[in-house]
């Protein structure tokens, strides 16, 4: 290195040192100034502002130590941190809690969908608490799941997976919409009117929302008749419910073609249910019966609950676990066959099979939970 070059490097280092020195001087002046404001102010200051001032002071001291050791990069790093803490304290000293509540939330994009989901969850909670309406265990559980989806979507977003987060948030919003519609039907009046915005949903998501509306109108028409549903109609309504659940899985997976297929299948189930309802002359045929309307439980729901229970038993090492699982599987098989026989019009066989489903279920329960030998006890 030539003399000129050495001079140039020495000059540049000196300039850098002078620049950092003045940065540190400014920093210490500002810290002193803010501390003076805190000490002389009449208003109590937010604890977080004081914490930032303390951290700014600590980082300044670290920066100074690094400066003395001539590690200018580290010195700059600490100075930068101290400046950020100082600015955070400055904003907080000028702010109040009430003004911080006016922070605006995003209206579009994944953050907008999440904001709408959180508002919809709270609106539903408020309406349920205020109206003291009937809330089935299934709907309650569903609301808990939707809330969990909100948290899951936030975690996905935090991990940089914004498409997946959008899918999860949309799925939560649509699932909640479905539960609210069901809640209103169960209680025979509007509990809460969730107005979903087109901005929050994809084109297919919006079509799914419209499907839920059509399903609700269809169910409402059936309920308005005030008579039990013909079994075949119930089967197709359950089919529409299942198509919706499958569609929600597609929303989570961002599977547009799967979603379209589920929508088509669900719409077909609804149309078939309506046609069957009209052609069965339900109002005349069931005129003499006064039993409350009951849509038949779907076998897939029963089987899904059996599967959950089996997993639970496997994981908890319940006594007689293998036998319990065998009996549960048998019960699920009988239940499904009973529904098939019922749909085929063989009520005697359906009755026999549903009884068998009960006997095996009860036997499994005794094996799992009782210390006495299990016995087949009739329904």
């Amino acid at each position: 290195m030539g003399m000129l070059e050495r001079l140039r490097v020495a000059f540049s280092e000196r300039q850098a040192k002078r620049s950092i020195r003045s940065r540190l001087d400014r920093l210490v002046d500002e810290i002193a100034e803010k501390n003076r404001i805190v000490e002389t102010g009449s208003q109590p200051i937010p604890p977080s502002a004081q914490q930032h001032l303390d951290k700014a002071d600590a980082d300044y001291r670290q920066a100074l130590a690094q400066f003395q050791e001539e590690d200018l990069d580290e010195c700059n790093r600490y100075a930068e941190r101290a400046e950020i803490h100082l600015k955070l304290a400055e904003v907080q000293l000028a702010e109040t809690y009430s003004s911080s509540q006016a922070l605006s939330l995003a209206e579009s994009g994944v953050e907008g969908t999440l904001a709408q989901l959180s508002k919809a969850i709270v609106d539903t909670k408020l309406a349920i608490e205020y109206s003291n309406c009937n809330l089935s265990a299934q709907t309650r559980k569903g609301l808990i799941n939707v809330t969990a989806r909100f948290g899951n979507a936030l975690e996905l977003l935090k991990d940089g997976e914004s498409e997946e987060a959008q899918g999860m948030a949309e799925a939560g919003l649509l699932r909640l919409y479905w539960y609210v519609v069901d809640l209103c039907l169960e209680n025979r009046h509007t509990i809460v009117d969730l107005r979903l915005s087109k901005k929050s949903l994809s084109k297919l998501g919006w079509q799914l929302k419209e499907f839920v509306d059509r399903a609700a109108e269809c169910k409402q028409r059936f309920y308005d008749v005030g008579k039990p549903l013909p079994p075949a109609v119930g089967t197709h309504l359950a089919g529409a419910d299942q198509a919706f659940r499958n569609a929600i899985d597609c929303v989570i997976d961002n599977d547009d073609s799967g979603l379209e297929a589920c929508l088509a299948a669900g719409s077909l189930e609804l149309k078939t249910a309506e046609k069957l309802f009209q052609s069965s002359g339900a109002s005349e045929k069931y005129e003499e019966e006064s039993a409350p309307i009951a849509v038949r439980p779907s076998s897939s729901e029963y089987e899904a609950n059996v599967d959950k229970l089996k997993r639970l038993i496997e994981s908890s090492q319940t006594q007689n676990g293998d036998q319990v699982i065998k009996r549960l599987s048998a019960s699920a098989r009988y239940f499904r066959s009973a529904l098939e026989q019922l749909a085929a019009g063989d009520r005697v066989e359906a009755s026999r099979l549903s009884r068998a489903a009960y006997l095996d279920l009860d036997y499994a329960r005794q094996l799992a939970l009782s210390n006495k030998p299990a016995k087949y006890l009739d329904i």
């Binding site: 959180s118 205020y130 809330t147 935090k158 639970l312 009960y358």
Partner: protein, 138 residues
Amino acid sequence: MANTQDRKAVAIARMAKIELFLSGLASEHEAAADYHRNMIVEECISKGKKDLLRARKVLFAGQIEECMTVLEIALLRTNFGKQILEADAVEHILGESDYLELVEAPVPQEALIAYYFFQLEREVVKLYSQFKDEAPKT
């Protein structure tokens, strides 16, 4: 460069406000604990604090856009907790205190197994009751 500095200033201002919002929520939650301790709000507060810590770390590292995303997450969480707390306050003021909990309380596994058996039994009895009068028992 100027644009980066502007974005950084926006991020700092937003972080300061969200932090204040969150600490206000924590104080309100403590005050409300006299009548109800909501687990969702607790979770919002603890996760919100972690979000803010992460936002600060990425800001120190100069990753301003990531910082803005994490701040939005912290805001969504805090806002959700705030709304839930307000809903609980309304229920308390109305004197009912029948809170709808939106989180599954930890349940012992045996109780959970018994619960599932109960649910399944209800379903199967519901099905059987449709034809209990017409089927001969053998």
